[in-house]
C-alpha cells in the first residue's frame, strides 16, 4: 500500500506538471480527479464541521443558530424554480452584513491605523523616543511620509493628473511600483520554495535520491 501511495502521488504530481508541456490526457485526468476529490473534500468538511459541528451540536445552547439554518434553507429554495427568487433574501442579508461589518473593520484597521503609523517624527533631539537622529533615519522617515502622501494623490479620482498635482501623482506611482517590485521579488522567493518542496518529494520521498 505504501508503494502504491507513493506512485499514485508521483503519478498525479507529474500529471499536473505535464501541463507545462501542453494540455494532454494525463493532465486532463489529473485535473478531473482533482476537481472531484476536492469538491468532495469540501462537501464533507462543511457537512461535518458546519452543519453537524456548528448547527446540530450547538442549537440547544444558541437558539440564534436557527436564523442561520433558516437562511440556509431559503438558499436551498433555489432548487424549486417557482419560488427560487426567495433565495435573494439570504443573499441580500449576507451582502448587507458583509458590507456593514467590513465598512467598520477597514475604516478602523486599514485607514486609522495606517494613518497613525505614518505620523512619526522626522527627526528628534530627545532621547525619550529612542529615535536615532542620523541622516539615514531622517531620509527614511521622510521617504515614508512622501511615499504615503503621493501614493494617495495617485488614487485621487476627482482631479486630472496635471501640473503639480500630476507630478505628485507620478511620484506616487513610483512608490507603488517599488512596492510591486518588492512584492514580486518576495513572491519569486515563495514560489521557488514551493517547487523546492515538490522536488524534495519527487527526488527524496519518492525516488530516495536525496536526503
Amino acid at each position: 500500500m505504501e508503494h502504491f501511495a507513493l506512485w499514485l502521488s508521483a503519478f498525479l504530481t507529474l500529471g499536473i506538471l505535464s501541463f507545462l508541456y501542453k494540455d494532454n490526457p494525463w493532465y486532463k485526468l489529473s485535473e478531473a480527479i482533482f476537481v472531484g476529490i476536492s469538491a468532495g473534500f469540501w462537501v464533507v468538511t462543511l457537512f461535518w464541521d458546519n452543519l453537524v459541528g456548528k448547527f446540530w451540536d450547538g442549537w440547544q445552547d444558541e437558539p440564534m443558530l436557527f436564523v442561520g439554518a433558516a437562511l440556509g434553507f431559503l438558499m436551498l429554495l433555489r432548487l424549486v424554480p417557482k419560488i427560487g427568487w426567495i433565495s435573494r433574501w439570504p443573499l441580500a442579508f449576507i451582502v448587507g452584513a458583509t458590507s456593514g461589518l467590513w465598512l467598520m473593520n477597514y475604516l478602523a484597521s486599514n485607514i486609522m491605523v495606517q494613518v497613525m503609523a505614518t505620523i512619526q517624527p522626522l527627526f528628534s533631539t530627545g532621547y525619550a523616543s529612542g529615535f536615532d537622529a542620523g541622516w539615514g533615519a531622517i531620509i527614511s522617515s521622510l521617504v515614508i511620509v512622501v511615499g504615503t502622501f503621493t501614493g494617495l494623490v495617485y488614487f485621487f479620482f476627482s482631479k486630472e493628473h496635471k501640473g503639480a498635482f500630476g507630478g505628485a501623482a507620478r511620484v506616487g506611482i513610483f512608490f507603488i511600483m517599488i512596492t510591486f517590485g518588492a512584492s514580486f521579488g518576495y513572491t519569486v522567493m515563495s514560489r521557488m520554495s514551493l517547487l523546492i518542496g515538490r522536488m524534495d518529494f519527487l527526488l527524496g520521498d519518492w525516488l530516495g535520491m536525496i536526503g
Binding site: 452543519l51 518588492a182 521579488g185
Partner: protein, 216 residues
C-alpha cells in the same frame, strides 16, 4: 416587491452591522459572532447547490457523450468516492488512518501542492517575457524586485561582502522593504480602505443592486 424586500434587507442589516461597532450592549455585542455562525451554516447549505451543479454538468456531459466525457465521468466517480467515504467515516473523518485521510494525503495534497508549485515556472516565464524596463515606472519595479530577490538569499551576501555593513545587498533589501515598500503599501491600504467604505455604503444605500437581482 421582489426587488424592494432584498434592498430593504440589505440596508437594514448593513446599518445594523455598522451600528454594532459602537454598541457594546446585547444583542449588538453578539451580532458579528452570530453572523459568522450563520454564514458558515449558509455556506454549508449552499455547497449542496454547488455540488449538484457540478454533478449536473458532468452527468450531462457523460450522458450525451460530449467531447472529453470520460473526464467528466472521472469527476463524478472521484467526487462520489470522496463524499461517500467522508460521510461514512463519521465525525472522526479527519483522523489519521481513515480512508478519507489516505485520499487526502496521497491524492489531494500532491495535486494541490503541485498546482501551487507550477507557479515557479510561470514566474520565470513572466520574468523573461513581461518584465521590461519600458519606462521609468517599470524600471523602478525591476530595480526593487532585483534588490529584494538578490538581497534575500545568501548569494547576495557573498556578492556584496566587500561593502561596509549597512550598505550590503541584504541591508538594501531590508531598506526597500521597510521604507519605500511600506510607504507604497500604506497608500494602497488606505485607498483600499476608502474603496471598501464607499462600496459598502453604495450597497447599503441601494445604489448597487445588480447582485441581488434588482437592476434598474
Amino acid at each position: 416587491m421582489r426587488q424592494e424586500i432584498p434592498l430593504l434587507i440589505t440596508a437594514i442589516v448593513g446599518i445594523g452591522f455598522v451600528i454594532q461597532y459602537f454598541i457594546p450592549h446585547w444583542p449588538f455585542s453578539r451580532m458579528s459572532d452570530w453572523f459568522s455562525d450563520w454564514f458558515s451554516i449558509v455556506g454549508a447549505c449552499a455547497i449542496i447547490l454547488g455540488a449538484l451543479n457540478l454533478m449536473k454538468v458532468s452527468i450531462e456531459k457523460t450522458y450525451k457523450r460530449k467531447e472529453d466525457w470520460g473526464y467528466a465521468a472521472v469527476i463524478i466517480a472521484s467526487f462520489l468516492l470522496m463524499t461517500i467515504i467522508g460521510i461514512a467515516e463519521g465525525r472522526g473523518f479527519r483522523n489519521p488512518g481513515t480512508s478519507f485521510d489516505w485520499l487526502y494525503n496521497f491524492v489531494y495534497i500532491p495535486l494541490s501542492a503541485t498546482m501551487f508549485a507550477i507557479l515557479a515556472f510561470f514566474v520565470a516565464s513572466a520574468s523573461y517575457r513581461a518584465f521590461r524596463a519600458r519606462n521609468f515606472e517599470a524600471t523602478l519595479l525591476l530595480i526593487a524586485a532585483f534588490f529584494v530577490m538578490i538581497g534575500r538569499v545568501p548569494v547576495g551576501h557573498t556578492l556584496s561582502s566587500f561593502m561596509p555593513i549597512g550598505w550590503q545587498l541584504s541591508d538594501l533589501a531590508s531598506w526597500v522593504m521597510t521604507v519605500p515598500q511600506a510607504a507604497g503599501q500604506r497608500a494602497i491600504m488606505i485607498g483600499i480602505g476608502l474603496g471598501i467604505v464607499s462600496t459598502s455604503l453604495r450597497i447599503i444605500l441601494g445604489l448597487e443592486r445588480a447582485h441581488i437581482g434588482g437592476g434598474k
